[in-house]
């Protein structure tokens, strides 16, 4: 069953159309990724889902209920948690308080404590640093903090915007392993927006390709990984021509 259905949303910032009728859906319990270059509209999609932006047209349905046009706080309460791009911590709060703010909408204190332990289990470094102010953490630790904080609301759907941005390869690997664990252990559905296509395709089951505000392709990730265009434009693999030269003006199939 699809937990989230986005139908034909259109968003523009002033005269600039960034989402030109985007539709997609996410199966409950799965990891879905949206790949696309800078400015393709990936962040806009996530912001529309979490209620930061209202779409001009189209609808967003979560568990069968329309949520477009609701305030972000109502959407969080329904079970969608959005980790925005750029590690948006509360810089002058401690790691512990940052995490507790993730549970702002909840009052079940005992369950919150248990969830906190679980987050510390996923990210032991956060437990070591719990009394430190968030701005003193390194980039990777801040990324862990914002993911952990988002989990504190016990989301059914987790939206992750570029969790690998600006991190060292080893850290990226660690973060993706934890994303997979969260999906498997908590049955949290995850929508992952990434530029690191290789990583994203390796953890997700289904992928969408977004270009210039339109979904141009979608398939199971194994098929996408095998697709020539995806290989060339998103995975950076070279196709060796007969003469050993690369066609430098190649057109993408979907154009």
């Amino acid at each position: 069953m699809a937990i989230l259905q986005v139908k034909n949303i259109e968003v523009s910032y002033g005269p600039v159309n960034v989402a030109k009728g985007i539709s997609f859906e996410i199966e409950e319990g799965s990891i879905v990724t949206i790949l696309g270059a800078n400015g393709a509209g990936k962040t806009t999609i996530l912001r529309t889902i979490s209620g930061l932006i209202e779409p001009e047209k189209g609808s967003v349905e979560f568990e069968g209920k329309p949520i477009h046009g609701l305030e972000p706080e109502e959407i969080v309460k329904m079970g969608i948690s959005h980790v925005p791009e750029g590690r948006e911590v509360f810089p002058d709060l401690t790691v512990y308080k940052n995490l507790m703010m993730g549970a702002f909408i909840r009052d079940d204190n005992q369950a919150i404590e248990r969830d906190l332990e679980r987050i510390y289990n996923y990210f032991p470094i956060l437990s070591d640093r719990k009394e430190q102010l968030a701005f003193t953490l390194s980039g990777g630790q801040q990324q862990m903090l914002v993911i952990g904080r988002a989990l504190m609301s016990r989301p059914k759907l987790l939206l992750l915007d570029e969790p690998s941005l600006g991190l060292a390869p080893l850290l990226i690997k660690e973060i993706f392993e934890i994303i997979t664990r969260i999906n498997q252990e908590q049955r949290t559905t995850i929508l992952l927006v990434e530029q690191n296509a290789r990583m994203a395709l390796s953890v997700a089951q289904h992928g969408y390709i977004l270009e210039m505000g339109r979904m141009v392709m979608d398939d199971a990730t194994e098929k996408l990984q095998a697709n020539e265009d995806v290989q060339e434009f998103y995975l950076g693999m070279r196709e060796e021509g007969i003469r050993g030269a690369r066609r430098w003006k190649k057109k993408k199939q979907w154009r």
Binding site: E88, F90, D92, K97, F104
Partner: protein, 288 residues
């Protein structure tokens, strides 16, 4: 003698600190500089005065009523004046609060007239002997109430969920939205708290100064205090207020006539030249 000068400086400094605190709370949350803070203080003081002298309400209930009215007024200002201006240039917001200050002052004049009133606010001034020094009971009272209020606010913003969420919303609005914190409600509550703090400042000021529709100009002195502490820092506002108060009262005794009035401004200019981020100020942090 010197200790008495210092204690009276600390007392007036506490008032500056409380008004500066009002500036800082609002600035931290919404980056609005509220130039009407001093005028809110005037309204708060007059409300207590009116309740006690015209309606014969005992002092404590009168004070509580005034605090509640001021909280509602603060929320109203946020809702009617500032929310429609969200996203406008800083200039527009500054003009709006300056205009608001003039408006409040004029309305205060219309309601209570342009005379000065003496109001003891339930405190009688008598000397309190502490060893060899005699301090004014009013000064001790002001310092104690300020201390209590600061401790209360510290507890609220650091230990309660609502308070921490307000602090969080001041630090990162986007993240606060995504945690499900009602950011608009937070701003409205910050205005309410600021107006309540202004009321306390107004009541504490009345034994030192006459009540007058113009008394909000004291708020201007709180501005150097906030800058000195590092605009946006709560401990900074308090330390800044006390430094301004003490140095002003020392200047009033040991320096030639007139220096008392300009001393706060000399400090302001000095701070801006030497350490523009203030004592507790934070230099802009770049997120990596």
């Amino acid at each position: 003698m010197f200790l008495q000068i210092v204690s009276s400086g600390i007392a007036i400094g506490c008032i500056y600190a409380l008004i500066a605190l009002g500036f800082v709370l609002i600035y931290k949350a919404s980056e609005v500089v509220n130039f009407a803070q001093g005028d809110l203080m005037m309204i708060g003081a007059f409300l207590v005065y009116s309740a006690v002298t015209h309606f014969h309400v005992p002092f404590i209930p009168a004070f509580l009523i005034a605090v509640i009215i001021m909280a509602v007024l603060g929320k109203g200002i946020d809702r009617l004046l500032l929310r429609p201006l969200v996203g406008e240039q800083a200039f527009a917001l500054i003009m709006a609060t300056i205009g608001l200050g003039i408006l409040i002052r004029s309305i205060g004049g219309m309601i209570w007239g342009y005379d000065t009133f003496s109001f003891q606010a339930g405190i009688t001034d008598r000397p309190v002997r502490m060893g060899s020094v005699a301090l004014s009971s009013v000064h001790i009272w002001i310092i104690a109430v300020t201390l209590l209020l600061i401790v209360g606010l510290y507890y609220f913003f650091n230990r309660t969920k609502t308070g921490v969420s307000m602090e969080a919303a001041s630090q990162n609005q986007l993240a606060a939205y995504l945690m499900g914190i009602g950011v608009k409600k937070v701003f409205s509550n910050i205005w309410a708290i600021s107006a309540m703090v202004a009321t306390v400042a107004g009541v504490l000021l009345t034994p030192l100064q006459f009540l007058n529709y113009n008394m909000g100009f004291v708020g201007l002195k709180a501005f150097p205090a906030a800058v000195l502490g590092g605009f946006g820092s709560i401990p900074g506002a308090i330390v800044g207020g006390i430094i301004i108060g003490v140095s002003e009262s020392i200047a009033g005794v040991y320096l030639p006539e007139g220096f008392k009035e300009i001393f706060a401004w000399i400090i302001l200019i000095g701070v801006l030249m030497i350490r523009p981020e203030g004592i507790f100020g934070i230099q802009e942090r770049k997120r990596v």
